[in-house]
Point group: C3
Chain length 351, copies 3
């Protein structure tokens, strides 16, 4: 089931140097069939060493070979694949051992494809997919089972939609995009005008007339939602990576290469810069501008624009609940405490 | 693709006054085919002006006409559609330009409909839908591709379920309800009795015997979950609007016209009043009562009942992580700080 | 539609004592067809009494009989089903009245099952399901409409997947597992190596080579996501219960019988002990170890390992927004306040 490669082959493909410390025999023809951690790697698996904290694990590894930096060769009891950036080399090599099933091109008999849709011959359309009128499915695209691509939407070349992804109408997805199961792209933004005056009908829906534009090389996690714009489009830049269960509201713009971890929500019309890293469960309110290279720590709430690169946080530290309860009550008395301290200070000054 | 309307037609349909400041020529037969922001609107699009902060944009707009208040006519270089409530007028007009595909009535050949289900002739049942025994699908209902409607569940007239919505058995959905893709209505509430005594079997599932009742004119966002009740029903009132990725636990009751933004979670048996606005990523613990007209700000945790209308919050302000870290540590020492200040105060009093 | 049982039958099945206080006539042949709260229970329904706060409701109930402790018999105006643990007895009895539709065994004609998959004859495969190559579906398993089971994945005996569950390739699900609609098991972990040097390609995907192992008697909520491991597997222990919209990242390990409420997110490689209870909307950062029997309160952020059983919290108390705003600003000045108090204290000492 797993594919096999020789050490020489891997070294050549990824421009790595195959070498070893004195006494380690290098056999370029040794076959490897997987990647594993230093501790669990067997004699047919590659390990990798990127964190000095695991140096003792390196010294005891049984891996067929280890991907590492030149400086670690002397600590390695087995052959080495020397890389300038071992973590990146590991990432690149990982594709060789991916066990995700290959999909053959063609349209499954149970898929429902509108005659006006344009599906590339090299695309693979899984069982029970639905492709609506005028949709365009690019070369080499894979749609897993049960995907829906709405009217006029475009999936760029080599896109991979896992099973049960929904793309509404009027959505443009760039090339080399991965979307995980359950993700919804192009649902209505949450826009309603209040109509609660006499004779009013309550919340009046604002029909969402914009679309969603997803750039190239984007990854979108499972059950993540990206709403269509109210008037203009919601825009996800090139190289953006988005984890599971993330909410991106209408007219949000995400700059290139920004990473967003799971459970984060970004409210309407907020613009996030490039190369930002948003940790998990962050909340960002609407209509803000976040500069490039901003990092937000986990579970923070961002209520104002951020104009300067750097790391930002909100929240409190964790403690045992019994202690926390006392401090949390005190939080509600903080402003008055400041006044009491000021009174003490002015008293001291007076005296 | 877009529909076109004359200014006169729009003025008449929505009871707006078509007028202009001196020197602006009004041509009632001018066609418009879209809505746009003041800055991006072209000569065939309507703009709207609702926020005085954008007055300079109004003064420079190229829109075919602008929806605005009487008082703004003098600032507008193009024809005006005068409304008492321009934002509401914009919302109402937006339906004219919605590009969502129209669905023709009938049941797609690939749908699986139990013979005992009752599907109105005017309903549109998309590809790969499943309608189980005794379910009732009302007049004009649209089920997008891949929806599942469980045994005995009811979708009221003119409901619009986008693709891949799941409605379990025993769920009643009112009229004019919109449900977005991936939403799940009627999944089991999270109810388990601990059975960890000697010979026990761990968590013993409490079968959830209630259903879900969704009122009229409700909107439910993508990938939102509404659990069925343990004994009685979970109830969503009329006119409630719910954003994406919201969790509503068993036996929650949401009052009419309450709005709930994305990523919010409401725990079991809590009752929310009418006309509340719950911002994004709010958490509300179980068994609480929240009064009418309560507003909860983003990412707050509500741990107690709220008996009075008003706005409520929890959490801390955001700051650079380096500063935040110091303050967060101090939070854990707050109670002791209060005692130190009290000591200082009593010392002052003593002296 | 509902099933009916006599009181005598229920008493026998669940080893309860059918009795009553003086003057209450016991008719073992009385039929009951449902469970309800003390207040709403009619003469053909069972009630249960587990919380002394509802004693007045017990005294007024019209239920056919009430499940309760021996000590409450004297307060009960109707026949009693006496249990050592009435809440557990209620949970066990609840299965009798579950209205979830029964699924007959067999594979629906519209399902797409790879010839190399192994589906037990007693399994029920719903409409539009997709079962990929070499997948194994155990005895008595139910797959609701539109489920996808990926290549080589295993669903153990008596598993119940509600409609539209996605199980990726290489996932092993134990016996007696319930998975709710929209859940995604085995999506890629969020692993990328940065490649932003000159000529780099941005985030380089780390292919996720591990799988997911779900134990026995696990329940997984609607739209919950469990990612596959990067190298090793993500592991969910036996008896774990997980609510809706929960995110479990790659290589997380959850100990047996731990309960996780809705909207919680657990980041990569964190290990949670056994018998923990994680409340709703909790965030747990990556690479932590949480001991057995730890409780985390709602919406807390856990940023460090926890080595001792007990309850832990973070966050602040809720207050009216106007007061909260003042205190939240003060939070950002906390560290300086501590210094001011220290100055006052040293001043006092000096004088």
């Amino acid at each position: 089931m797993h594919r096999r490669y020789t050490l020489a082959d891997i070294a050549k493909r990824f421009s790595l140097k195959l070498q070893g410390r004195e006494g380690v025999a290098i056999e370029p023809g040794t076959h490897v069939d997987g990647l594993a951690t230093l501790m669990s790697a067997g004699v047919s698996q590659l390990g990798f060493f990127t964190n000095i904290a695991y140096r003792d694990q390196l010294q005891k590894t049984n891996a067929a070979a280890v991907i590492l930096k030149e400086s670690a060769v002397e600590d390695c009891p087995v052959p080495c694949l020397v890389a300038d950036n071992p973590y990146l080399a590991y990432a690149k090599i990982s594709v060789l051992f991916d066990i995700a099933p290959l999909r053959s091109s063609g349209i499954h008999a149970s898929a429902v494809v509108d005659p006006s849709a344009n599906v590339a011959a090299s695309a693979s359309i899984g069982p029970h997919c639905v492709i609506e009128a005028k949709a365009i499915i690019g070369e080499g695209v894979v749609l897993g089972a049960g995907c829906v691509v709405g009217e006029g939407s475009i999936i760029g070349a080599r896109g991979y939609l896992h099973g049960r992804v929904t793309v509404y109408h009027g959505v443009t997805v760039g090339e080399d995009v991965v979307i995980h199961s359950g993700a919804v792209i192009g649902s209505d933004g949450f826009g309603f005008a209040p109509d609660f005056s006499m004779g009013g009908n309550g919340w009046c829906k604002i029909h969402q007339l914009g679309g969603v534009v997803v750039g190239n090389r984007v990854e979108i996690g499972a059950n993540t939602c990206i709403d269509r714009g109210a008037l203009d489009d919601t825009v996800i830049g090139d190289g953006v990576i988005i984890d599971n269960l993330v909410q991106i509201a209408h007219n949000v713009k995400i700059g290139n290469n920004t990473a967003i971890a799971a459970c984060t929500g970004i409210a309407g019309s907020t613009e996030i810069g490039q190369n930002c890293t948003i940790a998990g469960a962050v909340g960002i309110v609407g209509h803000l501008k976040i500069a490039d290279r901003v990092h937000i720590t986990a579970k923070s709430l961002v209520t104002g624009s951020i104009s300067k690169a750097g790391s930002y946080s909100s929240g409190t530290a964790m403690s045992p609940t019994s202690a926390w309860r006392k401090n949390a009550v005190r939080f509600s008395q903080l402003d008055s405490l400041f006044q009491r301290v000021r009174a003490l200070e002015s008293n001291r000054t007076d005296s």
